[in-house]
């Protein structure tokens, strides 16, 4: 699995194509492609301008503020940070076992987040590519275009999102800046009225989620040549699985498999993640490259996220999602699915699982219980891991005797997938950019590969006009030969 196309032998003689930033990916990303005179690809790199100010932002703060503060790291998955931080800080207050109500409320919040995040990604960010084609008319390749041609699909996307947000609101206490999870437990349970409000809609949500799985499964079956090969590369994969080996997005231990699906490690306590994982720095990227220490950086990189989780677990506890998991595994055959578009299918299976879990939790009497907090012997260090929508999320804190955070380390899902996303981009460049002039449709193929991972680049800033997209072809002297610019209002113009 030694990365090819990472570094060209003679880059000084090559043309450079830059895509900056990758559209419909949160934050800033840039793809650079070095081509020779015959448009043959020699080097492809995905540069992600990851913000690394997390630790400074958190250090020196009282630990009990952290679960609320970390939600401001990311406007896309604040609940994931909220829960991972709370899990890590449970150790500080000695809460080794939460009350049943606390654990189930946190799970309910988490499944609400999974549901709304996966719905947004599939219906809003990816369905335009999947329904219209990767090089279809750019003016229609968006959610507005989907709404015109497939109004029911677009409508369901909106309502699934809304339901997930309502679950978060009722469990976290607010639409944003929620305080539901606290070190040692939660500060509220569901009222009967809140539970009944969610129960009214949950059966429809389960049904729509199942339909979404069937929609993406049908796409795979209708066009296996594309879906099985687009950007495909072999990789190790890792995720947390439940203590019983089943899919568990909230708690468990770490398991990893090699690219043939064989288990490499299992039952690893995530408190010891530093013994398992190291991070490599490369001089051309701001984002680190995590790898398994036992295999080293060349062979030890891995994939995380829905496609890893669905193929890493032994079963799914909810019946409808388990049927779909089996279909997914059967479709893949003896070898694991490695094609990035498989992420979409796996993501929808997880959305169905989340909907079923929400249904089950709403019928559980513990969810309206009153025992919210646990405590024990105070600790000074804790690690919290959850399977966030995009993959494994690690929060690690040390706290001093004055209750202030002295050390914070976060490894977010997108960082785990750094090498894997680079590999996907290289495969697509090899498959689709050889001998072709650069067009918007071709560049979108690159972006489709990146979007399959649903990367979130930790950018919660939403300022109007902040995200232009530029594509440039420059020669070895740095002179721009041609270029395309897509402004924040969606218009495209040629650069002189």
């Amino acid at each position: 699995m030694s990365p090819s196309l990472e570094t060209a032998t003679h880059p000084e003689n090559l043309r450079r194509v830059a895509i900056d930033p990758v559209s419909r990916v949160e934050g800033h990303g840039k793809v650079t492609i070095l081509l020779d005179e015959d448009n043959k690809v020699h080097q492809v790199r995905l540069h992600i301008v990851e913000f690394r100010g997390f630790e400074k932002f958190i250090q020196g703060r009282p630990y009990w503020e952290v679960p609320v503060m970390v939600q401001r790291l990311c406007g896309i998955c604040p609940v994931s940070h909220h829960l991972a931080a709370s899990k890590a800080l449970d150790a500080i207050v000695g809460a080794n076992h939460l009350t049943p109500t606390a654990e189930k409320m946190r799970r309910l919040m988490h499944y609400g987040q999974i549901l709304q995040s996966h719905a947004l990604h599939f219906f809003h960010l990816s369905s335009p590519d999947l329904l219209f084609g990767f090089d279809s008319e750019v003016s229609k390749r968006n959610i507005v275009g989907v709404a015109e041609i497939h109004p029911d699909t677009a409508r369901r996307g909106v309502l699934l999102r809304k339901f997930g947000q309502e679950v978060i609101r009722h469990t976290a206490g607010k639409r944003i800046h929620g305080t539901g999870a606290v070190p040692g437990g939660v500060n509220k349970s569901l009222s009967i009225a809140e539970r009944d409000e969610l129960l009214k809609d949950i059966y429809q949500i389960v049904s729509w989620s199942r339909d979404a799985v069937h929609l993406i499964k049908q796409m795979h079956h209708q066009n296996p040549e594309l879906y099985n090969s687009f950007g495909a590369f072999r990789a190790n994969f890792m995720s947390m699985v439940g203590l019983d080996g089943g899919l568990d997005l909230y708690h468990g231990h770490l398991r990893g498999r090699d690219d043939s699906g064989n288990i490499m490690f299992d039952g690893v306590d995530y408190q010891n993640y530093t013994q398992l994982i190291a991070e490599e720095v490369k001089n051309w990227s701001y984002m680190k490259f995590p790898y398994l220490k036992s295999l080293g950086p060349e062979k030890g990189w891995y994939r995380v996220g829905p496609m890893s989780r669905i193929q890493n677990c032994d079963f799914i506890s909810t019946p409808l999602a388990e049927v779909e998991r089996r279909d997914f595994i059967a479709y893949s055959g003896v070898m694991p699915m490695h094609a990035p578009l498989g992420y979409h299918w796996a993501r929808m299976i997880e959305m169905l699982h989340a909907a079923e879990m929400i249904k089950d939790l709403l019928h559980d009497t513990d969810i309206t219980g009153s025992e919210l907090m646990a405590s024990g012997e105070r600790g000074s260090e804790g690690v919290g891991v959850i399977e966030a929508p995009r993959g494994t999320l690690i929060h690690h804190y040390r706290v001093d005797e004055n209750d202030l955070v002295t050390m914070c380390n976060l490894i977010v899902s997108t960082t785990h997938n750094n090498q894997a996303m680079n590999e996907a981009v290289r495969r697509v460049a090899q498959q689709y950019l050889h001998g072709h002039e650069i067009t918007e449709g071709l560049l979108n193929h690159i972006e489709v590969a990146v979007r399959a991972f649903d990367p979130c680049l930790s950018c919660a800033t939403h300022a109007l006009g902040k995200m232009p997209l530029e594509v440039e072809v420059v020669n070895d002297a740095g002179e721009r030969l041609s270029g395309l610019s897509r402004s924040s209002d969606g218009s495209v113009c040629h650069l002189n």
Binding site: S23, R24, P78, A147, I176
Partner: protein, 162 residues
């Protein structure tokens, strides 16, 4: 009963001038309580605009989105938003115009009148406070917003457009 006016602030308070929207909303909340207008106006705040926020617009007469802008003319701009087909390709967030289109598709009806108050910001890094310029812009935007709320009618707001 849905309040006829919705003020919807977008921004992250921990990212410098991106806090302009939420901070203005907080000031306006106090003003609405003082002036007895609370029942007429609902205040919502989010990090980013998303497709489900079309639902929050239903049954409103007036919607005002309040956001920070990097290239906005100082101290702020006040404009109207119309549903359009302009694709928003860039992130997990939507523009008000695209949200209006989602609304139209969702409800098959004319959306409410939507306006945008965009306050110029200068810096947007995590952990930063408001820039001095943004503080000035916030003061001016607050005075302007109060004027809007005193006359919360479409025609009046149209008369105040830049």
């Amino acid at each position: 009963m849905v309040a006829p006016v919705l003020l919807f602030a977008i921004g992250n308070e921990s990212r410098g001038d991106d806090a302009l929207g939420p901070l203005l909303l907080r000031e306006l909340n106090a003003y609405l309580v003082e002036s007895g207008l609370s029942g007429q106006v609902e205040l919502l705040e989010e990090y980013q605009l998303q497709i489900e926020h079309a639902i929050d617009m239903q049954e409103r007469e007036l919607v005002l989105f309040i956001d920070a802008g990097m290239d906005t003319e100082a101290p702020f701009t006040f404009s109207t938003a119309k549903a359009n087909d302009v694709p928003m390709l860039y992130s997990h967030a939507l523009a008000p115009e695209a949200l209006l289109k989602v609304y139209t598709q969702l409800y098959q009806e004319k959306p409410p009148a939507v306006f945008i108050l965009c306050i110029r910001g200068e810096r947007f890094e995590l952990g930063e406070g408001l820039s001095p310029q943004a503080e000035e812009h916030l003061e001016l935007a607050l005075a302007f917003s109060k004027k809007l709320l005193m006359n919360a009618e479409v025609d009046t707001w149209n008369g105040l457009l830049n």
